[in-house]
């Protein structure tokens, strides 16, 4: 089990060795965001903004104009909330080459509680022109996604977690920006998930199989631009779609999927996520259970969805 923030910290050091244009900025959270390793290896290319997220993003924008590839890190709630308008006007509007690697996304922040649990960051970032969004599911995918982000010319938002997650992919996996992956084939329903919910989606599919329900499982790690083709194909072939995200059901993965399907191939889409509510303090797994982000709830919901006459 390794958290995607750990994978990010590890790959940053490798990238730093390979490319001298990589610079990393943080806002006094480098031990938590795991940029501390990069800071130790490349002190000249690490900039601590202090507890000042607006200037964190502003400086990253300025650095990008000099040809640097800045990775700016802090918690997702501060990155996309506190610094939103700097991301809008100084990064996205001039399409500058800034990577925002936001950690501690979702409710699995845990004990720190609702003030620190970002459930709206994808909704906010999706609305910005020029912004691209990646939510990697595990260690292998995170390392590849960070590499891919560094090669993209323009703003990228990487959503990373605090909690350790089990491996989904083996080392042979290839992350392709903009492409989702079918992790399991199925014909009765498609479960589309992201991030740490993927292992739970797979477990739910196993439970459904025991009931004779064949569920397709898709990992969508690029939220924007989303893999329209794969989603439309799933809608055509399985007729029913269930989305699963550790994020609000307003504006997140579920909404992105609905945006595609309502235009191209309307089918019923059921969303599992945070139902327009903030999180609270608790252990990460307790919180996931509390808010229905479990394999059991995915299984139950999928079963009900499959039984609806269409």
């Amino acid at each position: 089990m390794i958290a995607t923030r750990e994978s990010y910290g590890n790959i940053l050091i490798e990238l730093g060795k390979e490319n001298k244009d990589i610079v990393v900025l943080d806002a006094d959270l480098s031990k938590s965001t795991k940029t501390a390793g990069f800071a130790k290896h490349f002190p000249k290319r690490f900039i601590n903004a202090g507890i000042a997220e607006q200037n964190l993003m502003g400086m990253a924008a300025g650095l990008a104009t000099t040809g640097k590839i800045p990775f700016a890190s802090t918690f997702a709630v501060f990155a996309t909330g506190r610094a939103f308008e700097i991301i809008r006007n100084s990064i996205c509007y001039p399409r500058l080459n800034v990577k925002i690697a936001a950690t501690h996304a979702g409710i699995t922040v845990g004990e720190d509680g609702g003030s620190h649990q970002s459930i709206e960051d994808i909704a906010i970032m999706r609305s910005l022109p020029n912004m691209k969004i990646i939510v990697p599911a595990d260690d292998v995918e995170t390392r590849q996604a960070v590499r891919a982000a560094a090669l993209i010319d323009g703003p990228v938002y990487l959503r990373l977690g605090r909690l350790g997650v089990p491996p989904i992919f083996d080392e042979n996996h290839t992350f392709t920006f903009g492409k989702g992956n079918v992790l399991k084939e199925g014909k009765d329903i498609t479960i589309i998930g992201m991030g740490l919910m993927i292992s739970k989606c797979l477990k739910a599919a196993e439970l459904l199989k025991q009931e004779g329900i064949s569920a397709r499982v898709i990992n969508i790690s690029t939220i924007k631009p989303i893999d329209e083709e794969l989603i439309i194909q799933a809608a055509k072939e399985t007729k029913r779609i269930l989305t699963v995200e550790e994020h609000s059901v307003i504006g997140g993965l579920g909404s992105a999927v609905c945006d595609v399907l309502s235009t191209h191939y309307p089918v019923q889409v059921v969303k599992i996520g945070m139902n327009d509510t903030f999180g609270e303090s608790g252990k990460p797994e307790e919180l996931l259970t509390n808010y229905g982000l479990t394999a059991e709830n995915i299984y139950d919901t999928a079963q009900k969805t499959v039984n609806i006459d269409i």
Partner: protein, 271 residues
């Protein structure tokens, strides 16, 4: 008459003409900064419109982005684009956006307009220069009302923390903002003490005196280990007597009659 004065007067003529043609925009704060920009672009900065992407060039960022006409006029006079484009300001399809847009306008180093952000970006540019051990300098112009933005002080702290002696922040201290004087709306004084307490080298000048302006840039270069803030005392609407020090001329374009009156006065100056 010294050439700088003639250039500045010509720039003010451009500002009035482009704002009148646009029918909206911000004359007061553009006119107050005209002498500062002329001195920067025609005396101080190493910058060439023929070689605008040279990595070693000096950079200017207009953090008070609403004063866009002063920048556009200067860039046109400096050869970045044709002066005949200026009257397309703010019109649909024109590259001359209401606020500076680096993707559309040659010579614009950073898209600005949302106050405080250009200054923060200029700190990033200065950091980039230090990381690459380049000798270029970064100049950024802020309004005094702009200093009310929190990000300004985050950026000011960072610039002195990282000893960015390649960075010069010029404060266009005309004392006025949209809703009234700085003192009425939100007191920003004492400026000198504020910037000094943030670890900056501070120089106070008359922002319409070319000798003062030039000297301050030279002095800033001699200071090592800290950024320099130049507090330039200016008059909003400078050069057009009926606009000078009038709050009402912050964000209103001149009518045709007002334009003609202003141009007549400005042309008289260089006759």
């Amino acid at each position: 008459m010294e050439p700088m004065k003639i250039y500045a007067n010509q720039l003010r003529i451009h500002i009035i003409n482009m704002l009148a043609a646009a029918g909206s925009g911000h004359p007061g704060g553009a006119l107050s900064a005209a002498d500062l920009l002329i001195c920067l672009y025609f005396k101080e900065m190493k910058i060439d419109s023929e070689d605008k992407d040279n990595p070693d060039r000096d950079r200017f960022i207009l953090s008070k982005g609403h004063a866009a006409p002063v920048l556009y006029g200067t860039l046109a006079m400096k050869g970045f684009f044709n002066t005949s484009e200026l009257t397309n300001l703010r019109k649909l399809g024109s590259f001359l956006q209401g606020h500076p847009d680096m993707l559309k306008i040659p010579g614009v180093e950073m898209s600005t307009g949302s106050l405080g952000q250009g200054f923060s970006a200029s700190v990033g540019v200065a950091l980039g220069g230090k990381i690459d051990e380049k000798s270029y300098r970064i100049y950024t112009l802020l309004g005094d009302g702009e200093l009310q933005e929190g990000i300004v002080w985050e950026a000011a702290m960072a610039a002195s923390h990282y000893k960015l002696d390649n960075l010069v922040a010029i404060i266009d201290n005309n004392g006025l903002q949209i809703d009234g004087t700085n003192d009425e709306v939100m007191k920003v004084n004492p400026l000198k003490e504020k910037w000094e307490s943030f670890g900056w080298n501070v120089i106070e000048i008359d922002g319409h005196c070319f000798t003062d302006i030039e000297k301050s840039f030279k002095q800033a270069k001699e200071v090592k280990g800290k950024p320099t803030a130049i507090i330039a005392k200016t008059s909003k609407g400078k050069g057009v007597s009926f606009m000078e020090n009038q709050v009402g001329w912050h964000g209103v374009a001149p009518s045709e009659a007002e334009r003609a009156k202003a141009i007549e006065e400005l042309e008289r100056n260089i006759r």
